[in-house]
Symmetry: C2
Subunit: 529 residues, 2 copies
Amino acid sequence: MRRWNGWGDDAVEFALNDEALAFLAQRVGAGKPAADAGYEQACAQIQESRLPPHRLIDTSPEVRLRNALGQSLPDWLRLRYGVIGAAPDGVAYPESAQDVRDLLDYAQQFGVALIPQGGGTSVAGHLTAPAGLPSLTVNMTRMRQLLYLDTESQLATFGAGVLGPDLEAQLRARGYTLGHFPQSFEYSTLGGWVAARSSGQQSLRYGRIEQMFRGGSLETPSGTLHLPTFPASAAGPDLREIVLGSEGRLGILTEATVRVTPVPAYEAFHAVFFPDWRSAETAVRQIVQAGLSLSMLRLSNPLETTTMLALAGHKKLIGLLEGYLSLRGCKEGKCMLMIGVSGRKSLARTALREALALTLPQGGVHVGRYMGDKWKQNRFRNVYLRNAAWSHGYAIDTVETAVDWPRVEIMMRSVEAAANAALGAHGEQVHTYTHLSHLYAQGASVYTTFVYRLAGDYESDLARWKSLKKAVSMAIVENGGTISHQHGVGSDHAPYLAAEKGQLGISSLRALFEHVDPQGIMNPGKLLP
Amino acid sequence: MRRWNGWGDDAVEFALNDEALAFLAQRVGAGKPAADAGYEQACAQIQESRLPPHRLIDTSPEVRLRNALGQSLPDWLRLRYGVIGAAPDGVAYPESAQDVRDLLDYAQQFGVALIPQGGGTSVAGHLTAPAGLPSLTVNMTRMRQLLYLDTESQLATFGAGVLGPDLEAQLRARGYTLGHFPQSFEYSTLGGWVAARSSGQQSLRYGRIEQMFRGGSLETPSGTLHLPTFPASAAGPDLREIVLGSEGRLGILTEATVRVTPVPAYEAFHAVFFPDWRSAETAVRQIVQAGLSLSMLRLSNPLETTTMLALAGHKKLIGLLEGYLSLRGCKEGKCMLMIGVSGRKSLARTALREALALTLPQGGVHVGRYMGDKWKQNRFRNVYLRNAAWSHGYAIDTVETAVDWPRVEIMMRSVEAAANAALGAHGEQVHTYTHLSHLYAQGASVYTTFVYRLAGDYESDLARWKSLKKAVSMAIVENGGTISHQHGVGSDHAPYLAAEKGQLGISSLRALFEHVDPQGIMNPGKLLP
């Protein structure tokens, strides 16, 4: 069963072994496990529902608790410490666009805020119930069918609440794939990907969700917005690009049409090590600008490389690997690059060969598929580490941005330094490490992870998180990055949005939202500051 | 000098020889040359300006006439027959963003409509002065500098009024290219490409302008909208995608940052013939869905193939080619495909080889580079044929859309049939032919040309054009196409926009425009119905 206060299925454990714990203790001090609140205790905090009854709405405390929050660290703190706060007054499970329309009519009639929810994996506070106003979470996961597959145009139409694995299973049964694999894949939905502009691990081949999303249907307080599919169009502004990233402020996506491709005949992930960051960054920039047909490039900085090797288990094997790398010039400060290739075997191998050739002048050492296979095996499992870390008294949080090439390294160093300073002010150390998760000819995403000790009580840990979040967000803004490359805005990033949209951009979006949703019932408080 | 009542430079003639004229006479009857109005006669029709004086504004009749209209057929009819109608009350030539701001302030103060203009190549009525309101055309072509080139991120920032050849020349001097080559390339501007969502002939390699446009600066009545460059972002709706296709309704783009790439080492265009449409369409769909690194695919239908061969000159050579093709199974009904490749020679040749292999099962006959070289040589010259045709009493017009694969052939046949019926109602024949100008995994653009006889007077020819335009636009809408793949909306396509945007989409765009431009001075009457 899915955990109510952590990530994923409670039958899945991804434990930290003694070496990993020793590594963490050495980096930030020994963790002190905090006492988790119980499920009944949390349910007991759910207030009586203020909603008038409706055939689609469940107002039981259990269902409302399980749909109250996402996966951000402040969401976790509320669940783990049992400080639930505002929860939705009910949860609806629509099964059709008509059900969604009925809920919109109901919400407008009774002045109820609607919070659209896919898999509930937001890490930016998209799902929090607004204080004051009665609210209803609209859980879309029953709308999950493959409705139409046009193999000639390679377009598939799904109910927008389809979860990643269900989507891929329905397509693969017909020989196709979408190829969208965010780390949240197991529990996130197509509609959520669109609403928050998600990006998957193999976006280099398959594109971001913006490129995949070709059309669909959005139910709004002012009616239905139907987005037809065209291969391309010059007919005015692209309304899909307004729906993408709208985070529930415009309406609820009921159907989405996405481009698909035949399942690739061949797929492989290879690891290459570099002696230092500068050479590694130069190599990946040259590779991505060469426009080769790769499916993934993912570059870890020295501390992430060290961390991944330390947590990998197989101590003896890793020792041998490090010995070999050291002989080849990759010692302290080495960086690991993961290269993915997919497609026809001959073309994939050609692309890999071209990419490897570009690593050589930068001292790249190709170590084959072992590390890549390990990575692929754990691609959706690493996120379970948050559960294990918490149980040993550690918080794990992440932040991500994207920035043009000349500022990539400065951004990485600034975000890490900001985190160190912020936790330092609380007398704590933070273990920070970074990877470039998505590479583009124009720049890269910069994805930083923070591991630090829990204080053990809600207020102190919320204060630590707030200091950290503010410091790293300011570092992003000051270095010209976007406040999110792949997680979206939600509540947590909204204060920083004006830095990139400008006041006119923000007021324009507000005017648009007010036109479509004059009562302001759609996910109020999210996205816009 | 640039023609005031036709396409391009008046030193360039692209004549129709006797064989071409015989071909046209056989298709639609002998043309009767119409008498063109004189330049002085046209200038004399320009009314006295209603504008208060301003340091940047020229109110001379000559300048206003030369900036009054674009290149649509109704624009031509007004110029050729000397029925000028409404013209702007003045033309401003700003040289800086501050100049543009001054003009916006002036326009707001005096209630003047602003018509942003790049190269004046619109074929959809983007530039027409509104009746009633005093209006000012803002000609952006003095803002044409390469302002900044970031070779690390492959980003170039230009003044938005830069013309295609000036843009490429400034980049090529530094080893880079944008790679955007619409047929209007010689006279269209970067800002115009963005405002009308242009697409170039090699978009398969370089992308549409949407993919190239990474950021910029828009001056609006409500202030400046600065669009920063990010490699990618999940921070809410993408404001660039609202500026793209805004057709002057939001403001005036002063700077645009575009992605660029090193000039390719190798470029070639090859021709392949197919025995019939169905086999050709199947082949191009399979090629584009294979994701090969090609720079262009352009497929002519049988009548376009015949027309291109008839107009190619070199009668003997073409006769030999047709004899050879006939032996290889491509006779009556054959279709010509142009394949472009660019990049590193080895990779380009590999991609070409893969593409050619996919043509074989469909009966494709590769005839090498001769036709491709001819096409490349004339890529910006074919549009001069409109001048020559007019002088022999023929009108040439085009219409284009894009549609998913299952409807491509139906669309082509419907548009051609609609044109035949519309001109038939006037007792005239029309020579129509079609190519797929841009190919996508999901579908294709369908680009149809019409050649028919001029009646010889303004009212009759406007009536013929209106019948034709309405009939083909309805055919597009009824067959699920977008009203424009690459020419934009302007005035001529505005009545059909609601069919794809929906009433809620249209009203949302209107709300957005009203927020940014509360007085409604920005290019009124364009884009929205």
